[in-house]
Amino acid sequence: MGELKLMKGNEAIAEAAIRCGCDGYFGYPITPQSEVMETLMVRAPWDKTGMVVLQAESEVAAINMLYGGGGTGKKVMTSSSSPGVSLMSEGISYIAGAEIPCVIVNVQRGGPGLGTIQPSQADYFQATKGGGNGDYNLLVLAPNSVQEMSDFVGLSFELAFKYRNPVMILSDGAIGQMMEKVTLSDYKPRLTNEEIEKKYGDWATIGKKGNRSHNILTSLELNSEQMEENNIRFQAKYKKMKEEEVRYEEYMCDDADYILVAFGSCARICMKSIEMARAKGIKLGLLRPITLFPFPKKPIAELCKRVKGFMTVEMNAGQMIEDVKLSVFDSGILKPVEYYGRMGGIIPSPEEVVSTLEKKLIGGK
């Protein structure tokens, strides 16, 4: 068993990066996630594991450093918060187009624009539907605890390399800042250049050796027929993710009449709401998507067979509700889907959730 420690979500990200054999972190300071790079700079992993940590001149530069480093088969990552991730969106699109593995952490804050430094989930659309230009998807993981902040770093790298695709950890300021105990994973050595050549030599730009043709990483293809083929290949990859990578958690759903759907810190609040609702005799359960892309459609379809309705709880104007509605629609068994949320950095209270549920779903229509 690994070491047990009390730490902030942001610190857990940094610690996990070092421990999972990450080769490079590139970032630019922004609240509420600056502790990630600060922790790394204090830990100075370059002395111990050889991991590089570099403060870039901007998020634009940082994401392009990921393009470069990830393109050589190294494990590279960055972290930022909403406005910074917007700046990175161009680079993320190029990374998806050139099929370069890397990990991006978004510790979300409220927007639009400079917004607030308080927690938010308003970048759900940006994370799950694109953000940059073109038809691409990130694999998106939503941690709801400091433990998951730690666990998802290594997992994200595994998935990023499995699919040669950028993976995003979509967190928020609450999880980034809160302190919890966390079981740290054991140290994994960084891959050697020889291991990288063996595993990724067919695509990574590590210097052309011997008879192999030169490796080129690009998102450019001016021939429309070929470009469409590339797109078809990307879509096949996203389809495979939908089939193999859906992760979710059900909480008290077995006997539930109503289901809350929430991710990240909202899911934590919903657990309290469930306790309160059940004390009143309302059979309430929670479906927590852990992967936001791919979205857990099938579990919702299953629940459609036996529950009376759903309500999403989100720290935004109602974004994930669209995916829940689509999942319900595609199941063929139409059930009401409602939304409750707060915006601008306000965290919904468990009481508000229950009273809205009573008003909109139970008492209503």
Binding site: A61, N64, M65, G68, T72, G91, I206, G207, L217, T218
Partner: protein, 270 residues
């Protein structure tokens, strides 16, 4: 002898061959316009990599611009960067692969306009990379619009009456700025319009590449270039225009040749 059946080998008499295609220059027809400087510089880059024997450790970063397809012509591993970001991409490659040699190849729109921040900071950090900067005073690829390096009075698609300070500001001597940065060790301006200048340019590229290999910080080679399509001139005229108009404003020669700055000069005490 049936002259129709002659092969290249029959034509070239051993002992008389003075020049040949470098092995690393791939046999793909270049998309560059006749008279364009890009092709010549590509050849020099291929020759230098071959002569230094560093193909196996070289990663090139090409830009957005006419040289976006550089990867089709030189037989090394390449990454295609987004517009202006090549120095950041090169930083990423180089930092996690200190054993590799990384260079960027960028145009003036790419390097001096949209990517001004990235080139400044990569050079200021003294990344151990080489930069080839093709200054043709225009946006070649998108059809000849004004670049930051476009001369005053120069006609482009977006300065139809000539570049004007009131409307467009001044031409940017970015290489002079780069030379001020403590992370650069070698900053030079070259051209490739005559066989002499081509040889000089090759020497400069070789020095830049050797510096990066020796971890001497950033080396920067500007090549004052022609864009006869963008300038709407024949190749011969374009060369003449470059000599008469570009060289006085962008004088060819070394701006800096030495080492990165001594950190002591930048410490608190000073």
């Amino acid at each position: 002898m049936d002259t129709n059946k002659l092969t290249q080998q029959d034509i070239i008499r051993q002992g008389e061959q003075v020049y040949k295609r470098p092995k690393l220059l791939l046999d793909n027809t270049m998309h560059y316009c006749p008279g364009c400087s890009h092709g010549v510089v590509h050849r020099l880059v291929a020759e230098v990599i071959e002569e230094l024997g560093i193909q196996e450790k070289t990663i090139g970063v090409c830009p957005v611009g006419c040289s976006v397809f550089a990867y089709n012509y030189i037989d090394i591993d390449w990454q295609e960067a987004s517009h202006g970001r090549a120095p950041a991409v090169a930083t990423g490659i180089s930092r996690v692969n200190p054993d590799k040699f990384v260079f960027t190849y960028q145009g003036d729109g790419d390097l001096a306009s949209i990517g001004a921040a990235e080139i400044m900071h990569a050079c200021n950090r003294g990344e151990n990379i080489a930069v080839i900067f093709i200054n043709n005073a225009i946006y070649g690829m998108t059809g000849g619009q004004m670049a930051p390096t476009t001369l005053l009075g120069q006609v482009t698609a977006t300065t139809p009456k000539g570049r004007n300070v009131e409307r467009n500001g001044y031409p940017l001597k970015i290489t002079e700025l780069i030379a001020q940065l403590p992370g650069t060790s070698y900053v030079t301006r070259q051209s490739v319009e005559t066989s002499v200048s081509v040889r000089k340019c090759k020497t400069a590229i070789k020095k830049a590449f050797k510096n990066a290999l020796a971890k001497k910080g950033t080396s920067f080679v500007e090549v004052v270039s022609t864009c006869n399509s963008g300038w709407k001139m024949s190749p011969v005229k374009a060369n003449k225009w470059m000599e008469e108009n570009m060289f006085p404003f962008y004088p060819v020669g070394d701006l800096k040749d030495g080492d990165k700055a001594d950190p002591a000069l930048y410490s608190k005490k000073n």
